[in-house]
Amino acid sequence: MTAKLSADGLTLFRGERCLFQGLSFALNPGELLLLEGRNGSGKTSLMRAIAGLIEFEDGDVLWEGKPIRTNRPDFYGSVVWMQHRVGFKADLTLVENLRFESHLRAQSGADLDVVLKRLDIDRLKRLPLRSLSAGQQRRVALARMLLSSVPLWLMDEPFTNLDREGRALVMDLTTEHLSKGGMCIMAAHQDVEIGGNVTKIELK
């Protein structure tokens, strides 16, 4: 049986430098793929390449057996992407920002207030995003993931700027997502405690 998401023989260059060669992995519902490595080891580049934002020198990532390069809409209909830059407009309020999300990807129909309360940002609803702290903005990015109904979470350094409760929250939410049959690829340089089926890839 082919895996839901798989990759074979990935090679990635950034400029002249080869980040890795012949990297392979497979991911199925309920599983977490954890990318580890020092700064500059290519975690972010690998994440961006899996998200289809940069091109592999060689090899393909396959979604349901088909290369995502040629099946972007299929793949992107099942993915939500979280990275260092939160991808929200600083001038818009939290609610205005999240409302725009519904134009970009399928929504789970979860109640906005419940989600915001869980993330402890419900008091900030009407504030423009620029008045929120970096950690609070990360929590809004988490709200994007919880409000969407897609199976695959791509998280690049999700713990950055978060306090201890925030980090615990990310781990809880991810564990929950996996237990519901979701999938997650996470790049992190901290220790991650997430229950379930975890595969680790160490980048050098």
């Binding site: 998200a51 299929d74 001038d91 519904s102 134009h103 970009l104």
Partner: protein, 231 residues
Amino acid sequence: MMSEEDTVGMTSGILGVARRDLLLAWKRPGDILNPLFFFAMVAALFPLAIGPSPEQLQFSGPAVMWVAALLAMLLSLNSLFLSDFEDGSLDQMLVSPVPLSALALGKTLSHWLTSGLPLVIVSPVVAITFQMPFAVTGYLMVTLLLGTISLSLLGSIGAALTVGLHRGTALLSLLILPLAMPVLIFGARTVSLVAAGDGVAGGLYFLAAYAVLTLSFAPFATAAALRISNE
């Protein structure tokens, strides 16, 4: 407001992005007003340089206003994708099942509504200072209306190609101005022809056809360029 439209798709993507950008423009009105002031000021430079002779001003009015409009459009284009590129919104648009060309079209639509349309609306006021007759002003507005659509669409390609580059503004002008020549030629010359009492249908048809042509390819070129620039 339009919450029943929450399904993911092309139309929802175009309108959603356009509405978001209009909301952003509403919160920062300077972004709309600055190019307008620029337009008025460039147009005011010419009478100062040419001299106050009414015949000369009437003769050069259409050309001056068209060049000023073209430059004002260029000025507003530079920031079209910049904030989306910097704050990661562009990543979110790329990693979405909605075709990027639809989202690019939505952004271009809002760009035209906030920079092209205002130019059309204020142009009669500037035209008065060039002593442009009433009927000619009407044609000026029609040519600007059709021409700025093409300029927004062509400009979005240039803005997408140069987003994130250091020498963005100057480079953008270098890329877009040669491509914009047909719009300038037909726009300005058509108004001059009206002023001279000649027929104008040909020029208007061309501007309309060119707007349709750019509409048919620019969103795709912009999408391709955005994907490349965001790498």
